[in-house]
């Protein structure tokens, strides 16, 4: 089977064609660097994503802090991750880098605050 991927590792956005059967990647063409190959293999075998969302903050000068994951998680777990994150509320002050959830769902990455929310 052949499929074209757009690599998202760097802004080059190489269009990479992969020739594969199930999880067995036969050939990869179009990548300018080996990271592209790794990306394509990962996409075929176990696609991963990082997500960004928001968390409610109480007592802050704004109602939300933005958050993101520090690493990529399996694509299939995205909505589980959202549910876990939605269950949290922070109390101001919140600062960039604060850990909201450590080792999210045991997947090896944290959820961190990405926008400062001072106390009101």
């Amino acid at each position: 089977m052949k499929r074209v991927f757009t690599c998202v590792v760097c802004p080059n956005g190489c269009e990479i064609e992969a020739d594969y059967e199930g999880a067995d990647v036969r050939a990869v063409t179009g990548n300018l660097c080996p990271k592209g190959r790794d990306y394509v293999v990962q996409e075929l075998v176990d696609p991963r994503r990082t997500i960004a969302t928001s968390v409610r903050v109480t007592g802050g000068d704004q109602p939300l802090a933005s958050v993101r994951l520090t690493g990529a998680i399996p694509k299939a777990r995205i909505f589980d991750a959202m549910r876990a994150i939605n269950a949290r509320t922070l109390a101001a002050p919140a600062a960039i880098g604060d850990v909201v959830i450590h080792d999210l769902m045991g997947l090896g990455c944290d959820v961190i605050v990405t926008r400062n929310v001072p106390k009101v």
Partner: protein, 489 residues
């Protein structure tokens, strides 16, 4: 059950003018308006013209009321603190057939009492507005432009100041007459109202309301008109309303009119419709407006489009012939306690106060009205930062820091003005209500910067819940709730 001497059905410009005029007397007056603000239907969906009165049949109410309303408007605008410019108007022609028609209307204007109309040549046209097309034109000096929203709001606020009550979101659904002659009006979800006089000022619904009150048989044909609103940059080129020669049906085809705030309106077209309250604008309509707009106005360009809107003229027609009729302002001996206004289309805006005075006259013929000594015809509007000189602006900011915070960048509207609009005397809390009172969101970014701020201010100042914030019409909820954390934000 709430009891009033007089209830007016309909909070448009005519209903509000009637309310205002009635508060000159010792009467309890209420306006029942089905929407959440005044001026939401026909009153707010037009060209904003103060007409001179030369179009209408001599002796008709349209002619009389129009000329009367036109003459007094400088004073009215001062009293009510509403924007108004007596710009004059050019009605241009190209051919001999046009010339004959223009001469006909000058004569008709003269008969109706319109002053100063003359047929002018190209040289005079160039002095007045060189960008106007045509070989000759009627110059009509008494025509003008106004803001129909602010005018209606001003009438309503002055009425309220003088004791009238506005019941918004109050739609009349039924009517009963009690044995002693008292009228009882049933409403949708707002209970019953009783009164001695009902005044039907329901515009597009006036034929239905007339039937409800016991006067069937009036027929309205809604005629839809669509408009483009163009950027103030185009407005810089439109000094004075320039119209094409009237058609043989005594109407004007698409024209480009400057607004009192400096935009340009291109339109309206005319389409008979069944549902006058379907305000969607059609592709065909826009294509037609673009085409005829370009002919009348060189700056009818896509890059100047701000938005479109539509309205419908409630034309009263003869049920047998379909012929368009005059304003109807009637009382009937067999239906006592009702003043019935049906078919108040153009020049309704110009004629609002004259119509109101005729309603008062009809009441005076049937009962003694005692004049109120403390009636105050003066109403002060929200002070507009953007209208002021730099010195005046500096002074405003020094007096009130709320003037130092610009909420609407495109129209330069400050927090102080938005707050004043939010805390308006009628209790209107919609985004459009703030918009028409301040001009916020009317600019080229159409609320891209200010809307998030205005909705936040409405919520903070009035305690409106997130899922209750409305854009304008009843039910126009803007949001579904919070993103995180349930109710609070």
């Amino acid at each position: 059950m709430r009891n009033y001497d007089i209830i007016i059905i309909g909070g448009g410009v005519v209903g509000s003018a009637i309310a205002r005029e009635l508060t000159r007397f010792r009467l309890s007056v209420a306006v029942l308006e089905r929407e959440g603000d005044v001026c939401t239907q026909t009153s707010g969906r037009n060209t904003g013209m103060l007409h001179a009165g030369f179009l209408y049949k001599p002796g008709s109410l349209k002619a009389e009321c129009c000329v009367e309303g036109n003459r007094e408007f400088d004073r009215v605008a001062r009293e009510l603190d509403v924007p108004f410019k007596r710009t004059g108007k050019l009605i241009v022609g190209f051919t001999e057939a046009h010339r004959r028609r223009l001469e006909y209307f000058i004569e008709r204007g003269r008969t109706n009492g319109v002053e100063g109309m003359e047929l002018i040549d190209r040289a005079r046209m160039d002095e007045i507005d060189p960008s106007a097309g045509g070989n000759f034109a009627i110059y009509c000096p008494t025509s003008g432009i106004l803001d129909p929203f602010i005018y209606t709001v001003a009438l309503a606020e002055n009425a309220v100041r003088n004791g009238a009550r506005y019941h918004l979101y109050t739609e009349v659904t039924g009517h009963e007459k009690q044995d002693d002659g008292t009228h009882v009006l049933h409403t949708l979800g707002k209970g019953d109202f009783a009164c001695r006089w009902v005044i039907n000022s329901a515009g597009l619904r006036s034929a239905k309301v007339s039937e409800m009150l016991g006067i069937p048989g009036h027929v309205l044909q809604p005629v839809k008109g669509e408009y483009f609103v163009l950027d103030k940059k185009a407005g810089a080129f439109a000094r004075i309303p320039v119209y094409p020669a009237p058609t043989d049906r005594f109407t004007f085809d698409t024209h480009a009119t400057p607004t009192v705030d400096g935009n340009v309106l291109v339109g309206p077209n005319s389409v008979n419709v069944d549902d006058g309250e379907d305000y969607g604008v059609s592709q065909a309509g826009m294509d037609g407006l673009q085409e005829s707009g370009e002919r009348m106005f060189r700056h009818m360009k896509r890059e100047y489009y701000i938005r479109t809107f539509a309205g419908a003229r409630p034309k009263r027609v003869d049920p047998a012939t379909g012929e368009i009729q005059d304003f109807l302002i009637e009382t009937r001996d067999d239906v006592p306690g009702v003043v019935n206004l049906v078919g108040i289309e153009s020049p309704g805006l110009t004629s609002a106060l004259p119509i109101a005075r005729r309603v008062v006259k009809l009441l005076k013929e049937r009962e003694r009205l005692e004049v109120k000594a403390d009636f105050n015809p003066v109403r002060k509007g929200i002070v507009r930062f953007s209208d002021k000189s730099r010195e005046e602006q500096a002074r405003l900011v020094a007096e009130n820091p709320g003037y130092g915070e610009i909420i609407c960048r495109c129209e330069t509207v400050t927090r102080a003005e938005i707050l004043a609009a939010i805390h308006n005397p009628l209790g209107v809390n919609t985004v459009n209500g703030i918009k028409v009172r301040t001009r916020a969101s009317m600019g080229r970014c159409q609320g891209g910067y200010c809307e998030t701020r205005i909705t936040a201010m409405i919520r903070e100042e009035l305690g409106v819940a997130i899922d209750a914030v409305e854009l304008g019409p009843k039910g126009s909820r803007m949001f579904t709730g919070t993103v995180k954390g349930g109710a609070g934000a």
